[in-house]
């Protein structure tokens, strides 16, 4: 390896790979983040792809991106702005240049910047650099297509196969920029195309060609140096929020000794959870691909009635369809976990984009007084923990639990220290036992939790009937008695309220005498935390309270909120959590910071807003 002309030392870097949705940018980004993680950096990634599988080639609508943030210390978000952008065509440059840090590096495939593609991308001239005022960037115009063809010319491949490995050239070049080994990627290629040695050879050749191209042009290009992060020892893997949710349920099945049943219907961005569990027939998981969301949840309720750990997964439109059935689980007092991977709404809305606008739907989107536990994961990796605890609460308290994640968490990845299941608590299943048979009635309750006991078909001596009609307080027989109805409504609410004794208290991150309390919930944690951390390092007095448990709210919520005069609730909706807090704590004064663009917050905009609030 030659001597590098200029090396930029950095704590953290954001790289964005972008191209046409057929250019393989998701894979390129994934491979790059994997290598960085093994190198020992902390990483956070986020894919950004169009909802059409193949939007018109070369257009802005068809641009697919993958952003990787990696650093020498911990990183909590995929980053607002990129240091390095790979743009495989003019549309990718047009769509992403505004997300660049000043002075960053842009790698373009100069071969694809012809008149036709420039027009398709909406450039009026043939000089996009001047047109979009990109002169301050360090631009590497690499003839990626030509070089790819050149390096494969003797292999006898058809043109299409050759072009398909263009992304490896770009990846090789980026590896050179960051001085990263190629070995992990080569290994991946060998494994993935085990049955096609020609493809393996071609991809590796192009990858190396890209890397070598970097060392040839180094005279004009700076490269970056990011040292490994200080990471806890142990075994790691990359995981995204959707897979983490799926695995959290597998862990819960093991800890409760219950068979796992998923009834679901595909919907972006939640489908991956279902796909992940469908592959787990080897662990005995029963996944039922239902005919619609209603059958997804009702089949799960049936499985719960029959004694399984039952789960249904969906996104906002699907949650709307499941409302009536959640009410059935509420009145039948059966355990059930409903996962909503939120996306932009209303209606079909923005299927591939993130939002937090289903909170009120999760809390109240049902007929009647229909309380359910509502909780939210806040990082891709803790989707595992919250799925586990959602299942634990559902089973132990005999109640439906709605777990909110979002597109950002579901698709975002982080390195995950592989947990030791013995660190997780056992899930105690409140199943009836033989000794209870004499005095047991379907609706007698555990005196502490107020949950009823689970007796399922096949158990000798516990045959009974339940249903969606109001039930007698003890026997569960149909009852239209007015006083009984009041009692049942009260006890169903009290049962959910009791969960508060089994969840952790809210923690304040930062000092209790801070001038501003930042309040958030769910998937915005990474951005809020980073803003909090940077402001604190810059000498501002701010604190952060981030919620994972929403119904019930942690016991000390009121105490914490009352400690701060100035409070701002930040969420990716029009203020649903802020209003929920106002409903719960009369007279509370809250400021709001809201965004509904289908995008996560940026740390930059959060900081700017908080500083303004601090100065007010």
């Amino acid at each position: 390896m030659g001597k590098r002309s200029k090396v930029i030392e950095k704590d953290e870097v954001v790289v964005r790979f972008s191209g046409d949705s057929g250019d393989g940018m998701q894979l390129t980004g994934t491979l790059f983040s994997y290598t960085s993680a093994i190198f020992g950096n902390d990483i956070s990634t986020f894919p950004d792809y169009p909802s059409e599988i193949r939007a018109p080639q070369g257009t802005i609508g068809g641009v697919s991106g993958f952003q990787v943030h990696f650093g020498h210390s911990e990183v909590y978000t995929p980053g607002d702005y990129a240091d390095v952008l790979v743009a495989m065509n003019p549309a990718a440059l047009k769509a992403n240049a505004k997300w660049m840090k000043p002075g960053g590096t842009i790698i373009i495939d100069s071969d694809s910047f012809d008149e036709k593609n420039l027009r398709k991308a909406g450039y009026k001239t043939n000089d996009p650099i001047t047109e979009d005022k990109l002169g301050d960037f360090n631009i590497i115009k690499a003839p990626i297509t030509t070089m790819t063809k050149e390096s494969l010319k003797d292999m006898g491949l058809d043109n299409k196969s050759i072009l398909r490995s263009k992304n490896m050239f770009a990846l090789g070049l980026v590896y050179w920029l960051f001085n990263r080994p190629l070995e992990h990627t080569k290994e991946y290629i060998r494994k993935k195309f085990k049955k096609k040695p020609v493809v393996v050879e071609a991809n590796i050749k192009v990858l190396e060609a890209g890397y070598n191209y970097g060392s040839i042009i180094q005279a004009v290009t700076p490269s970056y140096q990011i040292s490994p992060a200080d990471i806890e020892k142990g075994y790691y893997r990359n995981i995204n929020g959707n897979t983490a949710v799926a695995w959290g349920f597998l862990a819960a099945a093991e800890k409760s000794d219950l068979p796992l049943f998923l009834g679901s219907y595909p919907i972006t961005p939640a489908t991956e959870i279902m796909q992940e569990l469908s592959a787990r027939r080897d662990l005995g998981v029963k996944v039922f691909q239902a005919e619609d969301e209603i059958a997804g949840i009702t089949s799960a309720i049936g499985a719960s009635f029959a004694g399984n750990l039952a789960v249904t997964t969906t996104s906002g439109p699907g949650l709307a369809l499941k409302g009536e059935a959640i009410g059935l689980a509420v009145i039948a007092e059966l355990p059930l976990v409903v996962v909503d991977v939120q996306r932009g709404g209303p209606s079909t809305g923005l299927p591939t984009k993130t939002e937090q606008s289903d909170l009120m739907q999760a809390l109240y989107g049902r007929n009647g007084e229909s309380p359910a536990v509502v909780m939210a994961a806040s990082t891709p990796t803790n989707c595992f923990d919250y799925a586990f605890y959602a299942a634990k609460i559902a089973v132990e308290h005999m109640t439906p639990v709605i777990l909110l994640t979002d597109g950002f968490l579901g698709n975002g990845t982080q390195p995950w220290k592989i947990p030791d299941l013995s660190d997780f608590p056992k899930i105690n299943v409140p199943v009836v036992d033989e000794n209870m048979r004499e005095e047991w009635k379907p609706y007698i309750r555990d005196p502490e939790k107020l949950s009823r006991y689970w007796a399922y078909p096949g158990m000798k001596g516990f045959a009974h009937r339940i249903g969606g009609l109001e039930k007698d307080y003890i026997t569960g027989a149909v009852s239209h008695d007015p006083i009984n109805h009041q009692r049942m409504v009260d006890v169903r609410q009290a049962k959910v309220d009791k969960v508060v004794d089994y969840i952790p208290e809210l923690e304040i991150i930062g000092e209790e005498d801070a001038d501003l309390l930042i309040i958030g919930w769910g998937g915005t944690f990474g951005h809020l935390y980073t803003a909090y951390e940077e402001l604190t390092n810059e000498g501002h007095k701010v604190a952060l309270a981030h919620f994972n448990y929403i119904q019930p709210l942690p016991k000390n919520t009121s105490d914490i909120l009352s400690k701060f005069d100035k409070k701002v609730v930040c969420e990716l909706n029009m203020g649903q959590f802020a209003n929920y807090l106002r409903m719960n704590f009369e007279g509370i004064t809250l400021k709001q910071y809201n965004k509904v663009q289908g995008l996560p917050f940026t740390v930059k905009e959060l900081k700017e807003h908080f500083i303004k609030l601090l100065e007010e």
């Binding site: 075994y235 790691y236 080897d282 059958a295 049936g302 399984n308 059935l328 078909p457 009937r465």
Partner: protein, 338 residues
């Protein structure tokens, strides 16, 4: 595994007072189901009866078995979950013509298509009983009801045709008050592996009285219905002298002894025939052109969803290198930070 018991049919009765209107056909169906379960040597605790919403769907409350009265139209999906979760159970679904064919139409056809081993008893009174008398998806064109004061302008579903169209492998029809036939048919449905649909022509005395009377009344029954049994000739009529033959592509009613027709010319019922052509024709027969077919019309073996699920789990788990959750955690791309 489900057990074998010797219970009297009265032991399947729950302590709940039966609340259907006096004279409602549902009472008789309840009796027939209890008798069938007794004769099938079912044990109460192995039985799960799932229903939707409607008069008919109150059924589970009257059975001393496990029961779940669920949501309007969703019984089929809930029953699917129950059976897949525990294939050892005897899962029966009770549904009405509105419950199964209007709001629950999607679940009904998909249950049938998947062929999950569930016995569905479809109470067809051609009316919405519980909501007090609106027309249903099985009401005849022109039917006058509270929501069709000028007569309906839509064609009804024929449950048998819908079932077979959804690739149903078992379809039978009986009449509420014909206890003997109902018990026989319910037992056949129970023995059939896969989804069994039994349509029961049920009378709603309050909102649709005598809707099936021109077929099922004592004085007409013999001439206007035909009870099909596998392997027996398709003969009917008070005099047992009428029968069905194929005339080109059409079924035709003939009289034995007239026009040179002998018993040998009469079709013999083959419920096990995979081809649906004749079954569909039999299921679709309507009075007055034809007698209405009762008994088991189609009873064909095919792959059963819940069995395939168990089988696949067994096969995949034997082959897969992932034997535990821990194996999964450490599979694929894992690295160590030292």
């Amino acid at each position: 595994m489900s057990g074998v018991c010797n219970l009297k049919f009265t032991e399947f009765k729950s302590d709940q007072e039966v609340r259907w209107c006096p004279g409602c056909g549902d009472h008789a169906i309840l009796n027939s189901v209890q008798k069938a379960m007794s004769e099938l040597h079912y044990c109460k605790d192995d039985v799960a009866i799932i229903s939707g919403i409607g008069c008919s769907s109150r059924f589970p409350y009257y059975m001393d078995t496990y029961g779940f009265h669920t949501l309007h139209g969703r019984g089929a999906a809930i029953a699917s979950g129950v059976k897949i979760a525990n294939p050892d159970l005897h899962v029966w679904e009770i549904t009405g013509d509105g419950d199964a064919l209007a709001i629950g139409g999607n679940h009904f056809i998909h249950l049938i298509r998947r062929n999950i081993d569930i016995n569905v008893i479809l109470f067809n009174n051609k009316i919405y009983g519980l909501t007090k008398g609106q027309y249903s998806p099985t009401s005849n064109r022109g039917f006058v009801s509270k929501t069709s004061p000028y007569g309906t302008i839509e064609s009804p579903f024929r449950p048998g045709e819908l079932c077979i169209g959804a690739r149903g492998q078992f379809f039978a029809r009986t009449v509420d008050k014909e206890l003997k036939l109902s018990i026989e048919v319910f037992k056949e449905a129970a023995k059939h592996k896969g989804t069994s649909i039994v349509e029961v022509l049920q009378n709603c005395v309050i909102y649709n009285d005598k809707i099936h009377a021109e077929i099922t009344d004592k004085q007409y029954k013999d001439d206007r219905t035909i009870t099909l049994r596998h392997g027996e000739p398709m003969i009917f009529g008070k005099e047992r002298n009428k029968g069905l033959i194929l005339d080109g592509l059409e079924l035709k009613v003939v009289t034995i002894g007239e026009d040179g027709i002998t018993e040998d010319d009469i079709l013999v019922h083959d419920a096990k025939c995979e081809d649906i052509t004749l079954h569909l024709k039999l299921a679709d027969m309507e009075y007055p052109k034809y007698p209405v077919a009762l008994g088991v019309i189609r009873d064909v073996e095919a792959s059963v969803y819940d069995e395939c699920m168990e089988k696949q789990i067994k096969e995949v788990s034997e082959k897969s290198p992932i034997k535990s959750f821990k194996d999964l955690l450490y599979s694929g791309d894992v690295w160590e930070v030292k």
